[in-house]
Symmetry: C2
Subunit: 215 residues, 2 copies
């Protein structure tokens, strides 16, 4: 609980700096030497704390995974609603943003590391199933009208857009707005997937919320 101003441990500094460099420049362009340089430590020192680069990536991924697991928990003990969808999306996008290096060169990283692949795949599946669960909840609550077939396709599309929106935007972006401003637009895009299935009231509420969010 107490947090005396001790200097951060080297191991933690390595993790933190790696994340920042990976996010800024892309994981393939950042070597262990770059990380060591940035921290003003020797490459040898870095290898004292981590066996190799993949171990750093794995540790970062685990942080990411833990947060994603939290975000993707289907609300229990009560009926899901639009607020859940909202919260779910917001947390997912923020989390992806903070570990965005994982999403660039994704295939490359996953093909190097089977464990990573398995876990990442699990996250995708949870994205789909959480989206589906919320949709079913909305249907049950009479807020939404959709067939089972609709929901299956819809939740897959939600997962795709939620997963790749930031990549899509980072390609289109003129370097002007390279910031995290696109997160809001991403949430809007996903919500607009859901909107057509919502009944009158909820749909209008959503439109209202979306416009506020975009501005």
């Amino acid at each position: 609980m107490s947090d005396p101003p001790q200097p951060m441990k080297t191991r933690d500094r390595i993790v933190q700096t790696s994340l920042q460099l990976f996010n800024d420049c892309g994981e393939p362009r950042i070597t262990t030497n770059h990380i060591a340089d940035e921290l003003d430590i020797s490459p040898g020192n870095l290898y004292y704390h981590f066996r190799n680069k993949d171990d750093i990536i794995w540790l970062l991924f685990q942080q990411f995974e833990r947060r994603m697991d939290t975000a993707l928990q289907v609300p229990e003990r009560r009926v899901p609603n639009m607020e859940d969808m909202w919260l779910y999306l917001h947390l997912v996008f923020e989390n992806i943003w903070e570990y965005r290096f994982l999403y660039r060169d994704l295939d490359n990283m996953l093909s190097r590391n089977k464990k990573l692949r398995t876990h990442f795949c699990r996250i995708l599946e949870r994205k789909v199933s959480t989206a589906a669960a919320i949709c079913k909840g909305l249907v049950g609550a009479g807020v939404m009208t959709a067939t089972t077939e609709n929901i299956i396709a819809l939740s897959r599309n939600i997962a795709v857009v939620a997963t790749y929106w930031l990549n899509f935007q980072s390609i289109r972006a003129t370097h002007a707005s390279n910031d995290s401003d696109d997160l809001g637009l991403g949430v809007y895009q996903v919500l607009s997937l859901v909107a057509p299935f919502l009944n009158g009231d909820a749909r209008q509420l959503l439109q209202q919320l979306s416009r506020e969010y975009l501005s």
Copy 2:
């Protein structure tokens, strides 16, 4: 027109083999030596035909771009219809499939090569605007009901799903169905984005078509 059975020129064989290796293993894992090995030619010979690896990639990209430009032509001189949407999607997915290496490690490749980035960005924009043009056509023909705002969000989502569907599937795929079978599912996913905005008849026609396509 005539096609005598001359052996393929080395330059062309390099291009063809590179595409295959890139698609199979990912561009970052394939070195110029690998390509030369596969062709049973020397690395030096490869560099006689191409200044460097990026030149090969650029040539492959240009092939891809030319085909994509054709696919993304908005039908002129008549009202777009659902068939146009169908054809548009089909061509886009096939094309992405044949040059899928471009879509893995996309960010990495684009950050290495500014020219590639510009052109790829242009393709994305065209995906969005072609989708929007077709939607407007459908609305004009009374087949679809959607506001301008709807269409803007919808066509962005169409572009995202059409662009990243294969990536999404290749992560989720158990290595069983690693084939091009997912293309059909991709087309279905995109069409299901459009479906909620279609009016009665067109919507049912679409459902019919989708089910045939999936089976």
